[in-house]
Structure formats: C-alpha cells, structure tokens
C-alpha cells in the first residue's frame, strides 16, 4: 500500500505553464515519461512509449500524405488555370479522404504469371522505407522520436531503400513497361544518391556534426543557407534537384513516365497497393523537404538576424513547429513548381546531368566549403 501513496504524492507536474509547451515539447515528453514510470515498470514504460510514438507517427504519416495529395492537386490546378478539387467539403478538402476510401474498397487484381510474393511485398518495402525515415526528423524543439548521432546518414540510407521496392514491383509485375520503369528507377537512384549525399556533406562540414538536433541548434544565429556563403546555396540547389530525382518526381519521373510507360513500375497495381506507392511518393517528398528545411533552412529554428534583439524576439514568438512546417511546405511547393513546369528528361540526359554536371560541381563545392570552414570565413 505504501509505495502507491508515495507515488501519488510525488505525481509529476508540467515544469512549465501548459501554453509554453508549444515552444519546448521536452517538458511535455518528460512529464509523460515520468507519469508512466510512476505507474509501470521500466520495461512496460518503454513499450508504451514506443506504441504511443508509433501511433502518433502513423497518424501524422496518414495526415501528411492525404494533405500533400490535396495540396499537389490544388497547386497544379492553380498553375494550370483550373480550380482543382472543389466538390467534397469546402474547397474540396475532403477529396483525398474520399479517394482513400475509394482505393480501400477497390479490387486487388491478381496478375497472371506475376511473382505473387514479391508483387505483394514491394509496396510494403516502399512504404516502410519512408516510414523509417520519418522517425529521425526533428519536428520541433523536443519533438523528435529518435535523435541519432548520425541522423543525416540514417535518413539518407533509409530513404534510399525504397528503390528496392520499386525494383521488385517492376520485376515481379510480369509487365514489360513495369520492368523498363524499374530499371530506369534503379539507374536513377543509384546516381542521384551520390549528389544528395555530397550536398548534405557540404553542410555537415559546416555544422561539424551529423546529428540533426546539433545541426538545428547550430543555426540559432542564422540559417546555413545564409551562413555558408554561395557554397551552401549551391549545395541547396543541388540538393533540391537531386532529391526531386530521388523521389521519382517530375521532371525526373522517368520510372513512371506516364506518356511513355503508361504508369511505369506500378502499372499493374490496384487498390490499396497502388495507394501505398502513391502515398510513399508524397511522404518521400515530405521527408526530403524536411531534410532540406532542417539542414539548410534551420529546421524549427526561427528566423534570426544577427544582433537585432527585438526582431529575433518577435520571431521567437512563433512556435517552432510552425516554423518547421512552413519551411518544409515552402520546399515542397518548390518541388511541385518544378514538376508542373518542366518537361521530362530522357534517361541518358538524366544520367548526363548527374555525372557531368551535378557531381563535379558538388565535389568542387565540398572542397570550397571545407576551405571556407578551415579559414573560418563563414558567419
């Protein structure tokens, strides 16, 4: 009887007023952690916390996916002088939910002579790869599922895993278009992974760490995009281009090039399996955009200018989560803008762009950045 009373007496409280939680989520997470510890053994606490985080990330994943599909349709509609979805709900905001239900109820068509196991496995690989990457992204101060000390490397490695799913999907579908799409995708991602890595390395040199939280903290007095002179800017541009290619989005959507290969690697997929591919594409876009926002644009860090105390104070007033979302969506908007403006590249031009332009420039850029850091010429 006694220990319970003790536990009740020392019931933990939030260390800060509740409305300040939005500025620093660590108080909230600490409080949840302590409360759970008080009522459970450490083992079950960990399990419960993992479950909570898992459910939260799943929810976030679904919401972001649905919202991004809606946003893409609206953005492209406005660029094309159209209204976009406007039937379901005000301004059509429930359109994607209706689409989701449609996809859920659709028949999963079995393909003759397809490799059944791999055919069913492929969408899961694609979606798990994007699901894993989201765990390491710092959403706001203290809102960070896992803060790996090699965060940048982890996200890159995990998000590149999705190509296995694409290759499997193309191979196992027993469709010639799918196979061509998958092979294109393989060549594309192997090449562009290099550029993504190198452009991130440019910033890792500047920050001196691969830990995403450290990178964000280092941008307290200015975003790396501005701190790193022209070199960081070039890295940002290259990151934008190569990450667009890595997520198989236009103008680099060769793997699904609809006017050439009908739908590329997911031609034969229907219903919820197709939805997995579709959702993973948008989540991948979200992931690369949030990496760009974290690494180049300061993540959840507000916009600060040197010694303007008053200005910085006003900027601090906006919650970090809003900053993070705003920056991410800015990058996503840029990627949508690319997709809905440019014609598609051809496969050999795609590789030429990578090996003859992006890679040499990138290597040179890393060199310049290293030099700048060594000389201490950055801000």
């Amino acid at each position: 009887m006694l220990p319970e009373i003790v536990a009740l007496n020392t019931s933990p409280t939030l260390s800060v007023p509740w409305w300040k939680v939005v500025y620093d989520f660590s108080a909230l997470t600490d409080w949840i952690d302590k409360s759970l510890h008080n009522s459970m053994s450490p083992f079950w606490t960990t399990i419960t916390e993992m479950l909570i985080i898992g459910v939260l990330i799943l929810l976030f994943y679904a919401l972001v996916g649905l919202f991004l599909v809606y946003a893409e349709r609206k953005v492209c509609a406005f660029m094309q002088n159209r209204l976009g979805p406007n039937r379901v709900g005000p301004f059509g905001i429930f359109q994607t939910i209706a689409d989701l239900f449609k996809l859920l109820f659709k028949e999963l068509i079995p393909i003759k002579n397809a490799d059944g196991f791999l055919f069913n496995l492929a969408p899961f690989i694609v979606i798990i790869a994007s699901f894993m990457a989201i765990a390491a992204i710092p959403f706001a101060k203290g809102l960070h599922a896992i803060d790996l000390n090699i965060g940048v490397l982890y996200v890159m490695a995990v998000s590149a895993m999705g190509v296995i799913g694409v290759l499997l999907a193309g191979w196992s579908s027993n469709n010639k278009y799918s196979l061509i799409g998958a092979m294109r995708s393989g060549a594309q991602i192997v090449s562009y992974e290099l550029s993504v890595g190198l452009s991130l390395i440019t910033i890792v040199i500047l920050a001196g760490s691969m830990q995403l939280s450290v990178i964000v903290e280092a941008q307290r007095d200015g975003w790396f995009l501005f701190k790193g002179h022209i070199s960081a800017f070039i890295a940002f541009i290259i990151f934008l281009i190569s990450s667009t290619a890595e997520t198989n989005r236009g103008p680099f959507d060769l793997a699904e090039a609809e006017s050439e290969l009908t739908a590329g690697y997911h031609t034969e997929y229907s219903g919820i399996k197709f939805a997995f591919f579709f959702l993973a594409e948008y989540i991948n876009m979200f992931i690369v955009a949030s990496i760009a926002a974290t690494v180049f644009l300061g993540g959840w860090m507000p916009f600060h200018v040197g010694s303007w105390e008053g200005f910085n104070h006003i900027m601090d007033f906006i919650p970090p989560f809003v900053w993070y979302i705003g920056k991410t969506f800015f990058v996503i908007f840029l990627m949508m803008w690319f997709k809905w403006t440019f014609p598609r590249l051809r496969i050999d031009q795609l590789l030429t762009l990578e090996w003859k332009y992006l890679l040499p420039i990138n290597l040179f850029n890393v060199l310049i950045m290293a030099f700048l850091v060594l000389m201490g010429w950055h801000f």
Partner: protein, 374 residues
C-alpha cells in the same frame, strides 16, 4: 541443353517487343505501334492501323454530295472545316460554279482559325508527351476561345459542318469579326508565353534537337507533307503552290526549315500560327458583301468524270478524288489523307532512338488516327 538456352537468351536477334497502343497515353487514339526494343533503344516500329476504321470512303458512295460533308468532319476531326472545304471545292470545280468572294474570304478565315486551333491542340499534346503537363491546359485554354467563335457562327465546336457545296450553311454571326479580332489580340500576347514555357526550355531543347531527323529526299519519297514536310525543307504548301479560296490575295510566308528534326517540326508549327494570324488579320476587316451561298439545285449531280482537289489541312495535303457516273451519289471517293503518309515515315526516322524519343517523334508528326484509318 542448359547452355544452349542461355545463349539463346543473349542472342543478338532476341527482341523485347512492347505494344504501344491501341490504348496508350502517347499514341493519341487507337494507333498500335509494335515496338522492338533493345534495352531502351528502339530497333523497329511496326504500326498496326485499322482500329478505328469506319469505312468513310465506302459510305460516301451511297450518300449525296452535301451529305458527304458531315462524314469528312469525322476524318480529321481537328481540322474539320478544312476537310469540308476540300469536298465543297471539288464539287464546285466539277460543276464549274463561280463562288462569290464573300464565301471565299470567310472560308479562308475559318480555315486559318482551324489551323491555329489544331496547332494549339498539338502544342498542348506535344508538351504533355514530353512530360510538361501544364502545356496541355494552356493549349486547351486558348483553343477554347476559337471553339467559342466556331460555336457562335457554326453551332458546332469541333465538328462544324459549316460548308456546303456552293457556299456556307449560314452567314457569319454579327459578333464574328469582333470576336476574331479579340482573339488575335489575345493570342499575340499569349504565344510568347508558349515560347517561354517550352520553346526556350533547355530540357525541351535537349529532348528535341537532332531527334528523328527526316531528310528532304525522304520527305519527298515518303510523301510527307504539311509542317512535318516543310520542316525538312520540302516546299509543299498547297496554299502557295495551288492557291484555292482566298489564299491568292493574302501575303504570307511558307515556313521552311532545312534541319527536319523534332525541334524544327515544332518550330514550323509555332511559326505557322503566327502566319495564320497574319492571314486572318489581312482578311478580317475586308470581308466583301454578297450572298453567303450560291443557289444550288436541290439534287446535286456531278457530270461524269474524275475530279481531284487538294487543300492544305493543319497536318498536310488532303486530296479528295471523286469519280462520278453522273448520278447524285459519287461512284467512288478516295481521300488522300496526310496522316497516313506521315505515319509511314515513323519507322524510318525513329529507329535507333530511345523510347522517350519515339514518343517525342510521334508527337511531332501530329497524327490523327481516324484520318489514317478513315
């Protein structure tokens, strides 16, 4: 035994055959291309046609001359008005009727509007073939303006049926001139946007320059006409060489290029839109007064003989060949459709390029499948 199978697989003659079409996003209709690939590279293309064969030539034998008009609408449905005009001119030539100037001028304006809207649609689809989906909506948005003009005057948007032997079905709408002038003003402002979006784009240049080169000799021997032929330097504009309607009284340039690749086929059409606008501007303010149709007999009978008339549609030279045995129905009708000859050149120029190039080349030929099959 095992080994033999493996060598068989790596055989040089082994082909990876894909069927593009009859349902495929880039064949713009029910054209089926049997494409043999080696990796990404196209080894040969075998077009299979006839999926939308509707027997128009045979149907023409059992109906009267005014009734043929509505069938020609459905051949090359993007340049319906020019097709109608070809049949009408042929009948009028056979009957030796003098057509008043007013009809000639209106027909010319309508034909040029048809040409512009056809090229707009082509631009839209070509952009889409190359993956620039926004082009499609801009092209259709501007085409809508011309279709509105058509609808107001002819009652139909695409299938206009505005011509009839001896003139026009109705007079032009009172708003016609104002609307056309507004459109020209609007489109002169919009066309440079097309250039910014696609013509100047570096990706587009890479995708189209030097792709699918057609030499002048090949263009002539394959009978490739229209902007496709003129981009190869084959001077084949019927409007210049054999002026019909009011083309002999307007100033315009025949767009000719020497390169003959996809990019220049593209440029030829963009430049033709400018030229068409010039033609319309010359005519729109001086439409002569007069009747909109010549009084014809209720039943038109062509004197016995063979008649041929060619016109320049948006895709090339359309020929109408009629054999009459003196009855109210033609004995035999043959259409020389430009798309059929233009398609025949596809295998010749797309061999050795990649699949993506095949789509670009196919788009630049601007094929309309019902016109191929008729």
């Amino acid at each position: 035994m095992e080994e033999k199978e493996i060598t068989n697989l790596t055989d040089e003659h082994q082909e990876y055959v894909i069927n593009m079409g009859p349902q495929h996003p880039s064949t713009h209709g029910v054209l089926r291309l049997k494409v043999s690939l080696k990796g990404e590279i196209v080894k040969s293309i075998e077009p299979h046609i006839g999926y939308i064969h509707s027997g128009i030539e045979k149907m023409c034998e059992s109906i009267t001359y005014p009734q043929i008009i509505h069938l020609t609408d459905r051949m090359d449905y993007i340049s319906a008005h020019i097709n109608n005009e070809a049949v009408c001119l042929n009948v009028e030539k056979a009957l030796e009727i003098d057509i008043p100037d007013r009809i000639k001028v209106i027909r010319t304006i309508m034909s040029e509007l048809t040409r512009i809207q056809s090229h707009q649609l082509w631009w839209a689809c070509f952009g889409m073939d190359l993956g620039g989906l926004t082009c499609f909506f801009y092209g259709l948005r501007d085409r809508e303006k011309i279709l509105d003009i058509f609808e107001e005057t002819c009652g139909g948007r695409m299938i206009v049926s505005y011509n009839c032997p001896g003139g026009l079905m109705y007079d032009i709408h009172p708003n016609f001139q104002k609307r056309v002038k507004d459109f020209i003003k609007y489109f002169r402002k919009i066309l440079p946007e097309y250039d910014q979006l696609l013509t100047g784009n570096v990706i587009f240049h890479e995708r189209s320059k030097g792709i699918g080169t057609l030499t002048k000799e090949d263009a002539i021997s394959f009978g490739v006409t229209g902007p496709t032929g003129r981009a190869s330097g084959f001077s084949c504009d019927v409007r210049k060489h054999e002026p019909y309607s009011a083309y002999d009284r307007v100033q315009f340039k025949e767009i000719l290029f020497d390169e003959g690749d996809t990019f220049h086929r593209y440029l030829a059409r963009i430049d033709e839109m400018w030229e068409s606008m010039k033609i319309i501007e010359q005519l729109i303010d001086n439409i002569p007064e007069g009747p909109f149709a010549v009084k014809m007999k209720p039943i038109i009978k062509l004197p016995e003989g063979e008649y041929y008339q060619r016109v320049e549609t948006a895709r090339g030279e359309l020929g109408v060949f009629v054999i009459s045995d003196g009855n109210k129905n033609p004995y035999r009708v043959k259409f020389r459709s430009p798309n059929f000859s233009n398609l025949s050149v596809l295998n010749h120029i797309a061999k050795g390029f990649k699949i993506a190039d095949l789509v670009a080349i196919g788009g630049s030929l601007d094929l309309i499948i019902p016109d191929i099959d008729r």
